[in-house]
C-alpha cells in the first residue's frame, strides 16, 4: 500500500451555498465545500448536525432547498441531468448496508451493472468477482444478505458500489451499525480504498479513521460546516470552541 497517489486540484464535487429544510426545520445552512479528485474527506459532528443529510443531498436522495451542487463544474440540479448516470459516478454506502434482500451476494453486485451500465452478464460478473475478492467476500457469492454478519454485509455493499466504477463514494457511518469486533474489517477495506485514488466522503464516528486515513476533516454542527481542515489542524489545534467541545466529548 505504499504507492503514492497524487491528489489533484481537479474539482469533483462542489457545494455552493447549499441549504436544506424539512418543513420549517433548517437542517443544512449555507454549506460550501469543494472536494477534489483523490481526496478522502471525513465528516464528524454530533447527532442531528446534518451530516447524513449533506451526503444524501450529494447523492440526490434528498433535494436541497437552496444552493447548487456541481459535479465536474456542472450543476446536477439542472433539469436535464441524467440522475442515473450521475449516481453511478457518485455512489453511496449506507449505515444499514441496504443490500437487496431478494438477491445473492453476487447478484447484488451484478444487477445495477447490467441494468444501468448495460454491461454484459459475463463482464459484470467478472468485475463483481474482482471487487468481492478485494473485500474478501468472494467465498460468499451464493449467500443471501440475511445469512451474513454486519461486517460481511458492509463489505459486500462496498464491493457493490465499487463494481459501478464510481469516481466518488459517499459513506454514511459505514461502521455504526456493526458489532465492535466487525468494525475493523470494514475500516481495513476503506483504508485500502483510500490509497487507490478513489474520492471518498466519509461520515464517521471513528475518530481514529478520520485522523489517520483522511486528507481532510469537516466538523459539522447545527447544519453548518463549522471547521474544515487537515486532521492535524482539527484534532491538534481546533480553532472553534464548538469543535473543541465536541472533540473533548468523543476523544
Amino acid at each position: 500500500m505504499s504507492e503514492t497517489v497524487e491528489k489533484t486540484n481537479e474539482r469533483m464535487i462542489s457545494l455552493c451555498h447549499l441549504a436544506k429544510k424539512f418543513g420549517e426545520n433548517e437542517v443544512l445552512r449555507d454549506i460550501n465545500l469543494e472536494v477534489h479528485r483523490g481526496e478522502v474527506v471525513s465528516v464528524i459532528g454530533s447527532s442531528g448536525s446534518g451530516k447524513s443529510t449533506m451526503l444524501r443531498c450529494i447523492n440526490l436522495l434528498e433535494r436541497p432547498t437552496e444552493g447548487d451542487i456541481l459535479y465536474h463544474g456542472d450543476s446536477i440540479l439542472a433539469p436535464n441531468t441524467n440522475l442515473s448516470a450521475y449516481r453511478t459516478k457518485v455512489t453511496m454506502v449506507f449505515q444499514q448496508f441496504n443490500l437487496y434482500n431478494n438477491m445473492s451476494v453476487l447478484k447484488n453486485c451484478v444487477i445495477a451493472q447490467t441494468k444501468v451500465l448495460k454491461r454484459t452478464k459475463e463482464e459484470a460478473t467478472k468485475i463483481a468477482m474482482e471487487y468481492l475478492t478485494k473485500v474478501g467476500m468472494d467465498a460468499y457469492i451464493n449467500a443471501r444478505p440475511a445469512q451474513l454478519s454486519g461486517g460481511q454485509k458492509q463489505r459486500v455493499a462496498i464491493a457493490r458500489a465499487l463494481s459501478m466504477h464510481p469516481e466518488v463514494i459517499l459513506f454514511d457511518e459505514p461502521t455504526s451499525a456493526l458489532d465492535p469486533e466487525m468494525v475493523g474489517e470494514v475500516l481495513d477495506v476503506m483504508k485500502s480504498l483510500a490509497q487507490t485514488g478513489l474520492t471518498m466522503i466519509v461520515v464517521t464516528h471513528e475518530m481514529a479513521f478520520a485522523r489517520e486515513v483522511s486528507d481532510r476533516v469537516l466538523f459539522m454542527d447545527g447544519g453548518y460546516i463549522v471547521e474544515d481542515g487537515t486532521p492535524e489542524e482539527i484534532f491538534r489545534n481546533p480553532k472553534m470552541k464548538r469543535t473543541k467541545e465536541f472533540l473533548s466529548r468523543v476523544l
Partner: protein, 258 residues
C-alpha cells in the same frame, strides 16, 4: 327418504353437473385471482410512483387525475357487493354485447379482485424498507428498475399469503355469479335441488364441495409458502487452493432483517 338418501340420489343423478359446476367455479376463481393480481399489481405500481419536488406541474396534474380514477375504482369496488356489480355490469354491458356468460363472469370477478389486490400489493410495496429503494437508487437504478428487480419480488413474496387468501375467497364468492346464469357450483346445486324441490340436500353437497376445495387449496398454498422460504443453506465456493471445494453452511436466522 332421509336427507342422506336424497344426497346419494342427487349425487348419482347430477354428478355430472356438480362436476361441471366445480370446474367452472375453479376456473373463475383461478383466472379471476390471476387476472385480478395483474390488475392490482399495475394499479399499485402506478399509485406508488414517487412524484418528486422536481416534477413539472403537468406531470403532477396527470398523476393526480390518474390517481383519482384509480382510487375511485378501488373504493367503489370494495365498497359495493360483487353481486350488485355483477348484475350492473352484466346487464348493461355484456348482455348487449352478447358476450359468453362465462367470459363475462371471469371479467367481473377479475375486475372485482383487482381492487382488493391493488390494496394488497400497495401494502406489500409499502412494507418494504426504504433502504431497499435507496440502495438501488444510490447505484443509479431508476424507479422502474428498482421496482421490477428489487421491490416487487420482495413485496410479492411477502403478500403471497394474502394472494392465496383472495383465491380462497374467490372460490366461495364466485357463487354469487350464479345470478348471471353461470353453471358454477351454486347454480348446479340449485338446479339439482330444484328438480325434486329438495334444496337442503343439494346445498349440503354444494357446501361439502366448497369446503373440500377451499381446504385443499389452503393446504397447498401453505405448503408452497414453506417451499418458497428458500433453501436452508448456501454454498461457499472453493478457496484459491481448492476451487472445487464446497462447504455447505446452514441457514441461521434467515428471516431476520428480511
Amino acid at each position: 327418504m332421509s336427507t342422506f338418501d336424497w344426497i346419494i340420489r342427487l349425487v348419482s343423478e347430477y354428478w355430472q353437473s356438480f362436476l361441471v359446476g366445480t370446474g367452472n367455479t375453479m376456473l373463475m376463481a383461478l383466472v379471476g385471482t390471476a387476472a385480478g393480481f395483474v390488475i392490482g399489481l399495475l394499479i399499485a405500481m402506478v399509485r406508488t410512483i414517487p412524484i418528486g419536488e422536481g416534477a413539472s406541474p403537468f406531470r403532477k396534474w396527470v398523476f393526480r387525475i390518474v390517481n383519482f380514477i384509480l382510487n375511485a375504482y378501488v373504493e367503489i369496488i370494495r365498497g359495493t357487493p360483487m353481486l350488485v356489480q355483477a348484475l350492473i355490469i352484466h346487464y348493461s354491458l355484456f348482455v348487449p354485447l352478447k358476450m359468453h356468460h362465462l367470459l363475462s363472469a371471469i371479467i367481473i370477478i377479475s375486475f372485482n379482485t383487482g381492487a382488493y389486490m391493488a390494496e394488497i400489493v400497495r401494502g406489500g410495496i409499502m412494507s418494504i424498507d426504504k433502504g431497499q429503494f435507496e440502495g438501488a437508487h444510490a447505484v443509479g437504478m431508476t424507479h422502474w428498475q428498482t421496482m421490477v428487480h428489487v421491490i416487487l419480488p420482495q413485496a410479492v413474496r411477502n403478500i403471497m399469503p394474502s394472494i392465496g387468501n383472495e383465491f380462497v375467497v374467490n372460490i366461495k364468492d364466485s357463487s354469487v355469479l350464479s345470478v348471471i346464469s353461470i353453471t358454477e357450483l351454486m347454480f348446479a346445486s340449485k338446479q339439482a335441488g330444484g328438480s325434486y324441490s329438495k334444496f337442503v340436500p343439494a346445498y349440503l353437497i354444494c357446501a361439502f364441495i366448497y369446503f373440500v376445495l377451499t381446504f385443499t387449496v389452503t393446504r397447498i398454498l401453505r405448503f408452497a409458502e414453506k417451499k418458497m422460504e428458500g433453501g436452508a443453506s448456501y454454498t461457499i465456493c472453493g478457496s484459491q487452493s481448492d476451487p472445487s471445494a464446497e462447504i455447505r453452511l446452514t441457514k441461521q436466522e434467515e428471516r431476520i432483517g428480511e
